[in-house]
């Protein structure tokens, strides 16, 4: 299982699309590693600087419809090679969400009011996230503020996270 805990990158916008996560011109790369410098290069978000803000982060927290647009699995890969394996959002685009789980990565929905609360409590601060897959909890900590949120990881999604992907599962079964 991958690591899902560490410092949080807050992306305070809805509808962040796959072209913003990794522009199409880098899709000619054959290795995942080659995508590393280009993560979120074209993100339209005033306060965000990809050169400074990605380094050292392990978890993304954002708002609605993260990963909309293209089917490119390069979007999860670009996060993965930057050691970001977990994204929390109010909801995800379908293909992007499935790509995350197919790679053994976590794309977890939280209720919109929880996301709002997290942004108002933590977004302006250095925040550490601890994700516990076995108890399905996200604990955020910044200075003396600490909050724990439950999430629902079940069935197919959990089995993909725990088995590390869809290819071996399907080859054995079908």
């Amino acid at each position: 299982m991958k690591n899902f805990s560490g410092k949080v990158l807050f992306l305070d916008r809805s509808d962040i699309n796959t072209d913003e996560i990794i522009p199409a011109k880098y899709l000619t790369e054959i290795t995942k590693e080659a995508l590393k410098p280009y993560l979120l290069e074209d993100l339209k978000l005033d306060t965000f600087n990809p050169e400074k803000d990605i380094e050292g982060k392990a978890v993304v927290i954002t708002r609605e419809n993260f990963g909309c647009g293209s089917s490119r699995e390069h979007a999860p890969w670009a996060l993965e090679v930057n050691d970001i394996n977990a994204v929390f959002a109010a909801n995800f685009a379908r293909i992007y969400r499935q790509n995350m789980y197919n790679c053994g990565m976590l794309a977890m929905e939280l209720p919109e009011n929880t996301i709002n609360e997290i942004f108002s409590k933590f977004a302006s601060k250095d925040t550490e996230a601890k994700v516990d897959i076995s108890s399905s909890t996200l604990t955020l900590e910044s200075g003396d503020i600490k909050e724990t949120y439950n999430f629902n990881l079940a069935g197919f999604d959990r089995s993909l996270i725990e088995s590390g992907g869809w290819v071996d599962y399907a080859d054995k079964k079908y």
């Binding site: 339209k44 419809n65 293909i95």
Partner: protein
């Protein structure tokens, strides 16, 4: 309880339900292109599983960057070529025979009513125009599709769109889908099948239905879907005539892939489109939509006509009628990319290419090219493109560039004016010459269950609705 078309297709293809709400379905077709497939191939090789489930059900094309523009794209093409040869994939479309995937695969008759189709490309939803369930997937799902011929989906919840009225002259499928996306938003159909029905769809050609379904993903939709009818049968007839004695027999067989009257929908949204205006996008999201009239006079640097949305023969005919005998403004440059070799060759025979060239357009080979900023018309920083493609994301056609999505008619009129112009206002009356007159019948009675106010009078899509 009745079933939707998507539920019927799932039921007839169900392989397994490993978890509650998860359906593993058998695939009738797995489509592949050179951007997302090579990584899947490399992974299969690395796992010692370099196999294909059925070489006749895998169709492959090099379309995104072709001919190769550099060593990396040459390598992607080579991986596809070697793989197709190794596994005896007969339907592999290499340079000289290749075109944009979602145009060339339907053109070859590879999609039939009731089919299940996946591809490592989000605009795979296009093929739902044939009454198929067709979904874009990532590389891992594609890899499993290639290896085992299955893919996992949640229950196919459906939003039904009932498109009433009659489209005014100069208003096309592209305007309809831009309007719908503007109404429901880019997150409006996430995890949903978008079922398009009603008199407007019944009258549409297959080309128009493909345009409509192509952009389902821009509202988050899993697949667009239209009911198969005589228009579908006529389009497919040359591929299916061995299977049926008459067209009526084919229609009868395909009619099982029509939603039941008492099918359960997540939502039913009804629009009257009789007064719809030509639409276009204005921002960096496909739901930021306005009428062309509202944007009249806006600055443009490049016109691009092509892509899996609007690079088909019908689109070229519509644009050429507007361009005939005219020159594009010297303030803009025009690029035409017919979506397939067949479309290109028909356009040559019909004199359409000549019209475009005399008007001052550059005509490129069939490719996805500029649509995603890969080649053949990439924008410079600060430039604006009037485009018949499907995405206006920030940087989509080139870093710092801006894309306005619109119909081929609006794009052509805009090329002549050198600024955003409504084809209706400029006095032209674009008209698509139908390939063949189709004797279709609107058999289905549409039940009135409006949950959203129809677009009765003037449409002023504001976009971004949540």
């Amino acid at each position: 309880m009745g079933k939707t078309i998507a539920e019927k297709i799932f039921e007839s293809h169900l392989e397994d339900q490993p978890f509650e709400g998860i359906n593993v379905i058998r695939l009738d077709a797995v489509f592949c292109h050179e951007i997302t497939t090579p990584v899947a191939i490399a992974d299969l090789v690395a796992r010692g599983k370099d196999r294909v489930f059925d070489s006749t059900k895998i169709k492959a094309v090099i379309d995104h960057v072709t001919p190769a523009k550099d060593s990396k794209t040459a390598e992607q093409g080579k991986i596809m070529r070697d793989w197709a040869k190794r596994h005896d994939i007969k339907d592999f479309f290499d340079i000289g025979r290749n075109g944009v995937c979602h145009a060339i695969f339907p053109e070859k008759g590879f999609v039939r009513p009731g089919y299940t189709v996946i591809m490592g490309d989000s605009h795979t939803c296009t093929h739902g125009a044939f009454g198929a369930f067709a979904a874009g997937v990532g590389t891992t799902d594609l890899e499993v599709g290639i290896l085992k011929g299955v893919c996992a989906f949640k229950e196919p919840k459906t939003i039904r769109f009932v498109l009433n009225g009659k489209l005014p002259k100069g208003v096309y499928a592209k305007d309809v889908i831009l309007y719908i996306i503007g109404q429901i938003g880019v997150n409006g159909a996430t995890n949903m099948v978008m079922e398009f029905t009603g008199p407007v769809v019944d009258k549409m050609s297959m080309e128009s239905r493909m345009t409509l379904c192509n952009m389902a993903i821009e509202a988050g939709g899993t697949s667009g879907i239209c009911y198969p009818d005589m228009t579908t049968v006529n389009y497919l007839w040359k591929f299916i005539k061995q299977d049926f004695i008459t067209k009526q027999d084919a229609l009868k067989a395909y009619s099982k892939f029509i939603s039941d009257k008492d099918a359960k929908y997540e939502k039913v949204i009804e629009y009257d489109l009789s007064n719809l205006e030509p639409m276009m996008t204005v921002g960096y999201k496909p739901d930021e939509v306005k009428t062309v009239k509202e944007m009249e006079g806006a600055n443009i640097d490049q016109i691009y006509i092509g892509s899996c949305t609007n690079g088909r023969i019908e689109d070229l005919r519509i644009a050429s009628e507007i361009l005939k005998g005219k020159k594009i403004s010297d303030k803009v440059r025009g690029v035409l990319s017919p979506a397939t070799p067949d479309i290109y060759s028909r356009a040559l025979k019909e004199g359409i290419i000549d019209i475009f060239m005399k008007a001052g357009f550059c005509v490129t080979n069939p490719t996805c090219g500029a649509c995603l900023g890969m080649s053949n018309g990439v924008l410079a920083n600060g430039e604006v493109c009037a485009s018949t493609t499907n995405r206006n994301f920030n940087g989509r056609m080139g870093k710092g560039g801006m894309v306005h999505l619109m119909s081929p008619a609006t794009a052509a009129a805009t090329a002549i004016a050198g600024k955003i112009t409504n084809a209706k206002i400029s006095g032209d009356k674009p008209k698509a010459k139908p390939v063949k007159k189709t004797a279709q019948k609107a058999e289905k009675k549409v039940k009135k269950t409006a949950v959203q106010k129809p677009a009765k009078k003037k449409v002023t899509g504001k976009g971004g609705k949540k």
